[in-house]
Symmetry: C2
Subunit: 259 residues, 2 copies
Amino acid sequence: MKEKLSIVKIGGNVIEDPKGLSHILELFSRMAGHKILVHGGGKKATEIGNKLGIGSKMINGRRITDAESLEVAIMVYGGLVSKKITAQLQALGCNALGMSGADGNAIQAHKRPVKEIDFGWVGDVDGVNSDGIKKLVDAGFTPIFCALTHDGKGQLFNTNADTIASELAIGLSSEFETTLYYCFEKKGVLRDVADENSVIKHINSEMYQTLLADGIIAHGMLPKMHNCFHALQNNVKQVCIGNSDMLQQTTSNFTTLTL
Amino acid sequence: MKEKLSIVKIGGNVIEDPKGLSHILELFSRMAGHKILVHGGGKKATEIGNKLGIGSKMINGRRITDAESLEVAIMVYGGLVSKKITAQLQALGCNALGMSGADGNAIQAHKRPVKEIDFGWVGDVDGVNSDGIKKLVDAGFTPIFCALTHDGKGQLFNTNADTIASELAIGLSSEFETTLYYCFEKKGVLRDVADENSVIKHINSEMYQTLLADGIIAHGMLPKMHNCFHALQNNVKQVCIGNSDMLQQTTSNFTTLTL
């Protein structure tokens, strides 16, 4: 039987707030079994970019990663955020190892093809080096991934952290029984966005289609849910969406997704 | 019999120059056997720091690492330089893993005690997690270390890259037969600083004392040589000092140090 592996993605908003981050890292460090953390970079990249005179580049409301923005992403996601989280987790007794997709050739990607928009140095994931990551996990390390991938030819890319989490979960399903946790500021997928207590406890494929048709899943939740079901359709056992309390396992007040 | 391990430290000047860096990474990738790279950050940290309005802080000509300078060091050494080197080495077929001393709890340190000067967030090394690093090396990874350590309580430190290299070599001597390579712009330790061809091929402890007494080892070479003999006195088998050609092993025109 395959061993279990939890892949926890924490969002940018959590990273902004040092107290919230400490809390979530403490909960993560206490989770039993093999685990991997995936983090975004939050607004720190924008803040550092602005200070360096590198503003956010947008085309039709979509963020573009030019060469300078990529350098900022590498510094902030791969350096500042990654190493601070790693040091904090080590203090909590979790043997963290801060990684990008280039480290150990963990996540390979290619530059997103130019259609209407050239997104710049944004990478679409080709695959995950599950064998290499398993070696790290088996040796007792807890990989901490930032939102960077590489093409194996020396080029780093910016890649959405939600996507990294789901691709890791999919890729590692060959080696482990994987559960993917998306941690964000809400308690789960809400039936009524204005009501924090309207958490939908369980969503399966059929219900997902209904929720889509009814417009209950909309806006920011659309790509997130798409990622979730993409993962489930590719051998990930379960996806959970909720706030940090979800990691305590003492509450069931979050959303669980299965096929 | 212990397996061999090469620890190669490349200096700041090498990192400045993209062509020179590519060349040295190619030579490093071709080195046979287990190996570890240690890199400084070069002037990029100063450049980024200046752009962010964080100038270098100096007291009595000594560099001080305040909280802001440490953030820049984490971004530049631990992020930009580390991840770019890692991606480049992966492209050369070397299974690089960019690390700070916090990753895998690899290098523990404490804040340098305040005597005449408070150096700020500078770490003096307490020890190396040789067991953890050996696991990575045995699993086929090539650790790439930047000049950052941690205290195990969540605090990162700036630590001199030469020191990191020698402490790694010392710590890993319990597991491996270690050779330490200091790569810099000169061909080796020179008898006459004005003559590039006056490389002293071999220095032992006795000769070291003579060279010190004669003032032939002076200025920047003093702490470097002190590090080297400290390493040799603590079970490192051999230390080599020279330029990148040294890594090709086709030349013997560099300085070898033994006890």
